[in-house]
Symmetry: none
Subunit: 282 residues, 2 copies
Amino acid sequence: MSVLNRINAKLDGMAPGDRQIGQYILDNPDQMLRLSTAALAAEIGRSQSSVVKFSQKLGYASYQELKLAVSEARAKDWQVPAGVIHGSIEVGDDYPVILRKLVGSKLLSMQQTVASNDEQHIGKALAALDRARRIHLAGVGASSLVARDFSYKLMKLGRNVLHDSDSHVQMANASALGAGDVLFALSYSGASIETLRVAELARARGATVIAVTGLHDNPLSRVADIRLHTVADEEKARSSSITARDAQLTLTDLLFILLVQSQPDANEYVHNSEVAVSVLKA
Amino acid sequence: MSVLNRINAKLDGMAPGDRQIGQYILDNPDQMLRLSTAALAAEIGRSQSSVVKFSQKLGYASYQELKLAVSEARAKDWQVPAGVIHGSIEVGDDYPVILRKLVGSKLLSMQQTVASNDEQHIGKALAALDRARRIHLAGVGASSLVARDFSYKLMKLGRNVLHDSDSHVQMANASALGAGDVLFALSYSGASIETLRVAELARARGATVIAVTGLHDNPLSRVADIRLHTVADEEKARSSSITARDAQLTLTDLLFILLVQSQPDANEYVHNSEVAVSVLKA
DNA sequence: TCGGGGTTGGAATAATTTATTCCTCTTGCC
DNA sequence: GGCAAGAGGAATAAATTATTCCAACCCCGA
């Protein structure tokens, strides 16, 4: 995961001074690369030592290491395809600008989501899902829709899946889980009480808990055995969590495709389900 | 041109000492990024000052600048097969390729979907939704999830919305529609019998029918007053309609955002709903 | 309200790194 | 041989970075 994402995720939990430094780096990564600790400190009116300490708190051995990481993150930024704009949608924007920004922010969250989950973690989640006797999906609100979408796909592969949008039913079902079962819990905030309680119960019953949450520190991911992450733009009010949902879908789609790749008879299952449904087409 | 190429090109014309430094950087660019001038000099048995002079002879203001350039060159190397790939996912594809193809095909369907609905048609749909006394959403299977997602968003704006995933309930509700109501029907194939029947009934009762279907000729769009289109990759078996769903979401997200833009108090509504939900957060 | 433990963050300073200066040595040329 | 020019290193100045120490500021619990 890129430093910039890491900084962004930790920003809220930082002390004011550190937050200021982090914000400056996020806002001006290219300038930062050319600034000494003292110069950066001067830019934001803080002490030189606080910048050094900031680097160390992020886990880098030195300020130079932090710079190296930022430089790498900058260079590895995906190049933006033509016609796509990254930026939040403003009141005055006209139709073509809105189109581009919408597609742009969706793209960004998808890219950052796939980039923030390394192959190992995805692999662990995959192995757990593959071995699972039963898979129980938890989530409320928009996350429940993603859970249901994922459940449909898993069912097409012949898996044993459970999901109900009612959180009382989720809770009741979780009480029947045990070792060998998997709970797949979705919540961007990681703080939805219902989902959290379901995860805690599942964990206590011995099931493997996979949590899909934002990058920030949150209760749900602390409960989980396997942590997966979604990246969405933070301005939720205006977008009504569009990108958070897209990020979740990107992740579940990815897991589904990898399951298909690893399951030899997957295409047959999927094909049979298509044929079955086609009876209901005009 | 990258620094490494520049160094390589000039190598022959350099003095022995400089050549040695240049060669070392070419051979060990990643190590070099973590070495000080003195450490680099020690590696090759030269003086610290010669390293500084080397940087300056290459035209960089400082050794740090040279490092920055090398870092950038390195990172760019990594992303040679960079960015987005358009193409269907094959059995032999490895993880990074799958990631890029997944994001690529999602992006493609989003771009093509926004491109294939011109502003006039979107505007008509918007006007109909805006005027509607009640909005009834129809769809089965994955389309039902999109319908529900859209219904949640419309409700946040204080609209009068109806959706149930059960097609019998949808049919029953459609029978209560009349002039001034809108039926918003989603079906990528445009051939799902249940959705089609609901649309026919709604039309007969005088409601305005908005159909969201693929670009091909299909029964549902023939019934509709207003036709909107989604573009998805056709290889549905393997992808299990991932892009069809993404296209539908892109379209409904777009309509939602445009409604927000046109409704002065929209942000207030959305904000209130966020606040209400936050009571259920840990 | 009063300590006490923990955190934040800056000043001072130590340590390290970088840049410059200055000198010697070599080489090529007349 | 004498001279100019550049290579290259030692010494040193300048800068940058890292650490230490300390004051101020919470939070808590008593």
